[in-house]
């Protein structure tokens, strides 16, 4: 009876439909895919030291132990040492952020500045899915130096955990680095701990042709004012505090001074708009703030470096010599960096 295939097909489809429906039923017997929250997820760093006057970045601090990502992080219960609430840490400040990445080959200050923008951010901020902490650039009028405590709540759909009593230690600002004064006490550090800053040197000799060690050169920073443009100037003084002409540094490539930015992974220009004063005793560069521009966000991995090099003939040998200095400047303004020789170097040929 071939004339009833319609009913057969209908019957078969009903059975198949039932089967397909039962797939849905089966799904009820198996657990849903759930997030995994590892009991061993942990902050590998629990004490954070933030320095005022710069942006502080704490990255690579959370070990999720393969918990299902993304995790949600929130800062809770920010408080002073005496457990009173510390809402000042959560107030909004202007934060300088990046629209596009710093390449290092920018030709002008404006070009660098064009890549940045300002946004209101809470001073103490957590990145919502990675748990990284940021302490934005602020000053002691908003946050007093001292010890603060906070908790971080981490959760995903599989569970949550609160990490209690993480420590935030807020320290006095360093206008520049290397800074000769102690973070906490504000006193000058011991000499051995960097109470005096010296450059690196090579090949330098004093007037008696004795090697001139780097620690006979003292470096000091001096803020001379606050202009529209931030600048850094270098001045060399001999043992009698008489300026030394920069023309002595005869192999310094003044027009193409570069240093390597670790963070940008590139060789970048040392400042912009080099200006030499009339008697060549002072060289001035326009600089970004901070200088180098990634100094703070790289957690001091990025430092500016300058070499003042020269060569001279020493008993029929041409000898390369020079001074090098790595530093960063956080406080905006016009800064002089003064190299004071405690023994005069010899620039002349023998």
């Amino acid at each position: 009876m071939m004339h009833k295939p319609g009913r057969v097909v209908a019957g078969v489809s009903v059975v198949l439909l039932l089967g397909l429906l039962s797939t849905g039923c089966y799904d009820r017997f198996v657990p849903d895919k759930k997030d995994y929250f590892s009991a061993n997820a942990n902050y590998s760093v629990t004490s954070f030291t933030a320095i005022l006057g710069r942006t502080n970045v704490f990255i690579n601090i959370f070990n999720a132990d393969y918990s299902t990502q993304p995790l949600d992080f929130t800062i809770e219960n920010v408080r002073h040492e005496d457990s009173s609430a510390a809402p000042e840490l959560l107030q909004q400040v202007d934060a300088r952020e990046w629209k596009t990445f710093y390449q290092g080959n920018e030709k002008t200050l404006a070009e660098v500045e064009a890549k940045r923008y300002t946004e209101k951010k809470p001073i103490f901020e957590i990145r919502p899915h990675s748990g990284e902490l940021f302490f934005w650039n602020t000053d002691s009028s908003k946050v007093k130096p001292g010890t603060y405590y906070f908790d971080v709540r981490v959760k995903n759909h599989g569970g949550e955990k609160v990490f209690h009593n993480l420590v935030l230690s807020v320290r006095r600002p360093h206008p520049y680095d290397p800074y000769e004064f102690d973070d906490i006490t504000g006193e000058r550090k011991e000499i051995k701990d960097g109470g005096v800053t010296h450059p690196t040197s090579y090949g330098m000799v004093d007037e008696l042709s004795r090697p001139l060690p780097a620690d006979s050169v003292y470096i000091s920073f001096r803020k001379t004012g606050t202009g529209k443009t931030n600048t850094v100037s270098f001045i060399f003084l001999d043992q009698d505090s008489v300026p030394i002409s920069l023309s002595h540094f005869n192999t310094t490539k003044w027009d193409s001074l570069k240093y390597h930015s670790n963070m940008a992974d590139a060789d970048v220009y040392f400042g912009f708009n080099r200006k030499m004063n009339a008697d060549s005793t002072k060289v001035t560069f326009d600089i970004t703030n901070p200088f180098p521009v990634l100094a703070d966000v790289s957690t001091n991995w990025d430092v500016a470096h300058i070499d003042f090099s020269y060569n001279r003939i020493s008993f029929n040998h041409r000898v390369d010599a020079g001074l090098g200095f790595s530093f960063s400047i956080y406080e905006p303004g016009n800064w002089d960096v003064i190299f004071q020789f405690h023994k005069n170097p010899k620039f002349d040929d023998d």
Binding site: M1, M2, K4, P5, V8, V12, V15, L16, G19, L20, S22, T23, Y26, F29, V30, P31, D32, K33, K34, D35, Y36, F37, S38, T55, V57, I59, N60, N63, A64, D65, Y66, T68, Q69, P70, L71, E97, W98, K99, T100, F101, Y102, K115, R116, R127, P128, H129, S130, E132, F134, G158, N262, M263, A264, D265, V293, L294, V297, S298, W301
Partner: protein, 1082 residues
């Protein structure tokens, strides 16, 4: 009632009417003769039983030409019975009565063996598929398992190695294992092997070798030794009711193979002989010669870190093959892959002699196959003899005996069969000269000259006694013994083996004694017709199983020369107290395996049906074994099943388009012995010293768990069988939910316990899905010589979900590390096993597209923390940064993805066309939704990032060769939507590792549609020469086997990948073969 049927009635009845009175008065004996033929093809049917239904006694059988002759009181009913045909009953009258039998409802009246019990299919409650002899013929394969692919819905077979004599993976209704061993391309999942039962004897599916090949062994299992020509049927038992009586070994399903039996009064000689040619596979696309040199030099000169680096690289000694292009030694375009492959001509021969009647029948089957691999120095020869004798000396006593002996000889060449084959390791730069008299290439020399002979001798015997001591009660006793000897003799020449010879010997002896003794009771309220009343079958039996396994290895290295293969003994290199020489821990001399296993089971079953309409099966089995934890010796395996054949309801009789229809519903529980003596009892080891004396201490690696239970599974199955329109359409549908639980996992312990780990029951997996088999006969010609078309389509949808991990964990990451870093994720609620890798979103078209960290002013980079040359730029891969820290890191940014271990859908399609004497069969199989990590491609691309090297080690280790770049859509400046990242800029690329293997860029869809077999055959009929030479049947055929695979996958073959979905470049590719064969019956 058709015309021919009427005619027969006339023929039978007319004489009866004439001499009816006489018959009644005299009850005289008459002699009835005639011929029995197939109603459709008119071919004579030998071996048809002629039966007296009243006394239930056999009267005779038809001979080879279908003729019969019996003597019987006139007027008695005579019934002609033949498997697969509708029985026909006529009244006896002297003279010639020709009978034509019609094909019956084959799928229902067929007898199958389930739980050691013969039943008709219509009373089965479980999900059972049967493959007949005709479905596995005409293709000479080295392993019968290859032929089962795509033939049973729910039986997933992936022939993932083409090595002759090896076999692929098998799983019934999804994977049920979580244990992954090995690393990289050599990571393997524990096997999901079903239990294999050959002629009612349970045998070890693998014959003692494990899929991961980490164990030594000759690696030839029973399925490679049994000749397909000798197989009558293969049954696949899928649900827990069907497998419950197989107890502790049936959790992964059961495959039952029944060999052919003699059943002809005149001896039948069956000869099947074929010649087949194996063809090498498609090679992997490669650039050689000048193109290769151009790629390498261009990459070095233009994309190095700086010019000085480029100069240094080109000036290095190792780069001479690049720079010295005018030197004939380096001016080559050697096709390394081609050197490894060969086309081989092989033969397959099978002779079967059989004969007898139900009282005494015999069979002897002799088989020989020569199967040389497409990789040089590999191949498989097998010889087998299977003898069977069945006796019925008394009406109530039946005795069957069988002896099976086989020898499998395997040459593995240089590889493992699954890994380390082919050009993989030797597939080096084409600029190097190929092998010649003066130039040896170690890997290639290995292929040509290393010897690796593996012999397996298997002897299996059984005796089966069945005695009906009082009516309806039978005692049954089956005892079998299965014995294997595996030997492996390997000699690696020094040149091919790091300048030291290796002589390796392996001997393994395994045996298994199985004895099953029981009593059964059979009651039919209507003896003549099961459809007339109540039918009861009950049985009780015990089963004893004793297995031993002993393996010994000797490994002697650093011999004096390639021509002295000795001394065979303990290697002085590994002499105790000489640990310096065994720094790599390669000393595997000694007895690697020695174990003894006992199992004891009690089982009871009860089957009842009313008029075969309502069926119920109950079974209960108790299994104990010596490996289970001492506090948990026995496991319980109960099952229950119902079947309702609704077409037998009288109210269904109006629907005459319905041939049969039934619903089945079952539940059952099964177990799988996974506990070992070590994990349940612990082990001891010698300690170097304690108080200055060598001591024996508990092995601190594993803490024994006396509560360890076998792994278990339960399963629900619901099925529908429908036969429609006079068997023009048959539909079998099954749906199931199977849960495997108590899966043993390692739990690592805190070191204060003094132990490293303990093994616990605790993980579970659910598999559920649907299986559909449709057999259609769209074109049926009434003329037997006319055109006929039969189509069979089957498909299985199976979804596996990990439902539990021990300790309520949600997630387990199986670390992998070098060389691939492709980790596995076991996540509750997800696919049973998933890859745990980076998610590739695309390629950065320009550096400006790279996300910038607004806080830090730098781009998204590879790896956390500080590092140079790791910022992404144009042409790099854009991976998903899940936690938004602008750093790609293994700890945060991997995701569980893919379905590497099991496809979502598997199935097959078979078409048979018959016209006159020709028959054409086209048989295909398919797989949908499976993830493959294309490590062959990824590894080669990754290695191309070292353009100055011939070989790299560590990550993606292997030889450096150049892919055919015209086939690769990789990023170049200005290209849009490139699939792969920039390639030539190797220096930068090595920073973020664009061509890392652990990313979804290389995770491809491994769905495929494969043409397994096309056979065209011709049946010679009614030729004069056949009569002269006494041939009853003569058939020739040509077969093209494994000829095409269609897939979106970019590699050559999505099937020859590891069971965890890694395309290993060193895997053994599967060969296509072409066969011409002849089969004849005398």
């Amino acid at each position: 009632m058709n015309k021919s049927y009427l005619k027969i009635w006339m023929v039978v009845l007319l004489p009866l009417l004439v001499c009816g009175g006489m018959v009644h008065a005299q009850q005289s004996q008459v002699t009835v003769t005639g011929k029995v033929v197939d109603a459709r093809s008119h071919q004579p049917l030998p071996g048809v039983s002629v039966w007296n239904p009243k006394t239930n006694k056999g009267l005779g059988v038809t001979d080879a030409a279908g003729n019969y002759s019996i003597s019987i009181p006139a007027g008695t009913n005579i019934q002609f019975r033949f498997v697969g045909y509708r029985s026909k009953t006529v009244k006896a009258a002297s003279g010639r009565v020709n009978i034509s039998l019609e094909l019956g409802d084959r799928s229902l009246k067929e007898a199958v063996i389930v739980g050691y019990q013969r039943k008709t299919k219509e009373t089965l409650t479980g999900a059972v598929s049967v493959i007949g002899h005709d479905q596995i013929q005409d293709a000479p394969v080295a392993n019968v398992q290859d032929l089962l692919q795509g033939k049973v819905a729910g039986l997933n077979i992936q022939n993932n190695t083409g090595a002759p004599g090896f076999r692929g993976t098998v799983s019934i209704r999804g994977i049920s294992q979580l244990s992954i061993s090995g690393n990289g391309d050599q990571s393997y999942l524990a096997t999901n092997n079903p239990l294999l039962v050959i002629d009612n004897v349970p045998v070890d599916y693998d014959g003692g070798f494990s899929q991961d090949m980490l164990q030594p062994g000759a690696a030839t299992g029973p399925l490679a030794l049994i000749p397909p020509e000798d197989i009558e049927t293969i049954e696949v038992l899928k649900d827990a009711q069907a497998t419950s009586l197989y107890g502790s070994r049936g959790a992964n399903g059961v495959i039952i193979i029944t060999t052919r039996k003699g059943n002809s009064p005149t001896p039948i000689i069956d000869v099947n002989s074929s010649v087949f040619v194996n063809f090498p596979p498609q090679l992997r696309p490669t650039w050689g010669g000048n193109l290769e040199r151009w790629y390498r030099v261009n990459s070095i000169l233009n994309y190095s870190k700086d010019l000085q680096t480029a100069r240094n690289m080109l000036a290095a000694d190792g780069a001479q093959f690049l720079t010295d292009s005018l030197n004939p030694f380096y001016n080559n375009a050697t096709d390394w892959q081609g050197l490894f492959y060969q086309t081989t001509i092989n033969t397959n021969n099978n002779v079967q002699i059989s004969g007898g009647n139900p009282k005494l029948n015999y069979k002897a089957n002799l088989s020989y196959q020569l199967n040389q691999g497409v990789i040089k120095n590999t191949g498989f020869n097998k010889y087998s003899l299977n003898m069977q004798l069945n006796m019925q000396p008394m009406q109530n006593l039946r005795i069957s005996t069988q002896l099976f002996g086989a020898l499998g000889q395997k040459q593995r060449g240089n590889g493992g069969g699954l890994t380390g084959n082919g050009a993989g390791d030797a597939f080096t730069s084409s600029l190097l000269p190929g092998p010649a008299h003066f130039v040896g290439i170690p890997q290639f020399e290995g292929y040509e000259n290393n010897m690796d002979d593996n012999n397996t001798v298997n002897i299996r015997a059984f005796v089966d006694l069945d005695y009906e001591f009082i009516p309806n009660f039978r005692i049954n006793s089956t005892t079998s013994y299965d014995y294997y000897t595996d030997t492996r003799d390997r000699f690696n020449q020094a040149f091919a083996n790091n300048n030291q010879t290796q002589l390796y010997g392996f001997v393994g002896r395994r045996d298994e004694l199985n004895s099953r003794n029981g009593i059964n009771y059979n009651f039919n309220s209507d003896k003549t017709n099961a459809e007339g009343g109540h039918n009861v079958y009950a049985s009780l039996f015990t089963e004893i199983n004793v297995k031993t396994d002993n393996q010994h290895i000797r490994d002697v290295r650093n011999g004096p020369s390639d021509y002295y293969w000795g001394p065979r003994g303990y290697s002085p290199r590994f002499y105790p107290g000489n640990p310096w020489n065994d720094a790599a821990g390669i000393n595997d001399n000694g007895t690697s395996v020695s174990n003894l296993y006992h199992a004891l089971s009690w089982a009871a079953s009860l089957s009842y049906n009313y008029k075969t309409k309502y069926n119920i099966d109950l079974a209960y089995r108790l299994d104990g074994n010596s490996a289970a934890g001492v506090n948990n010796r026995y496991t319980v395996n109960p099952s229950i099943g119902f079947r309702w054949n609704f077409n037998k309801e009288h109210w269904m009789s109006q629907f005459n388009w319905l041939d049969f229809g039934s619903f089945r519903l079952t539940y059952g529980q099964n177990s799988r012995a996974t506990a070992t003596l070590v994990n349940s009892l612990g082990s001891f080891k010698t300690s170097t010293s304690y108080n200055n004396i060598p001591a024996i201490i508990p092995n601190p690696d594993i803490l024994p768990n006396p509560f360890l239970q076998p792994e278990k599974s339960y399963q629900y199955n619901f099925g529908v069988d429908l036969g429609l329109f006079k068997s023009r359409l048959e539909i079998i549908y099954d749906t199931y939910f199977k849960k495997t639980f108590n899966i043993v996992r390692d739990l690592y312990l805190p070191n204060v316990t003094g132990f490293n780990k303990i093994q616990l029951n605790g993980a579970s997996i659910a598999n559920f899905g649907h299986e559909l088999t449709i057999t259609g006969r769209p074109i049926v010609s009434p003329d037997p010589k006319g055109f006929q078309w039969t189509i069979n389509v089957n498909g299985a949808y199976n979804r596996g979900v990990l439902t539990h991990l021990p300790g309520d964990l949600q997630f387990y990451r199986q670390e992998q590390g070098a060389p691939t870093y492709q980790e596995f994720a076991l996540q509750v609620g997800n696919n049973v096993i998933a890859n745990y890798i980076y998610k590739t979103l695309g390629i950065f078209q320009s550096t400006d597209d790279v996300p910038v960290d607004p806080v830090r002013g730098v781009r998204y980079k590879a790896f956390r923390g500080n590092g140079t040359n790791q910022y992404f730029q144009a042409g790099d891969v854009n991976w998903l940064d899940i936690n938004g820290d602008y750093a790609l890191d293994d700890r945060d940014d991997n995701i569980p993805t893919g379905r590497p271990a099991e496809p979502l859908v598997t199935g097959g399609i078979s078409n048979t066309f018959n016209y006159r004497n020709f028959s054409l069969n086209v048989y295909c199989s398919y797989v949908l939704d499976r993830s493959i990590l294309n490590n062959a491609l990824a590894g080669r691309m990754r290695r191309m990032q070292s353009p100055d090297q011939l070989k790299i080690t560590g990550t993606a280790e292997g030889p450096v060769n150049v892919y055919d770049l015209s086939l690769i859509d990789y990023w170049k400046p200005g290209s849009v939507n490139a699939k792969y990242p920039a390639l030539e800029q190797y220096y930068h690329s090595l920073g973020p590792i664009n061509y890392r293997l652990d990313q979804t860029l290389f995770q491809e869809d491994g769905s495929y549609f494969k043409i397994n077999q096309i056979t065209l055959s011709y049946n010679f009929r009614d030729f004069g020469f056949m009569k002269r030479w006494g041939m009853r049947l003569l058939r020739t055929y040509v077969t093209a086997y494994n000829i095409g695979i269609f897939s979106p996958y970019s590699g050559p073959n999505p099937e020859t990948v590891t069971d965890l979905g890694r395309d290993d470049i060193s895997g053994y590719p599967s060969a296509a073969s072409f066969t011409i064969g002849l089969s004849t019956e005398f």
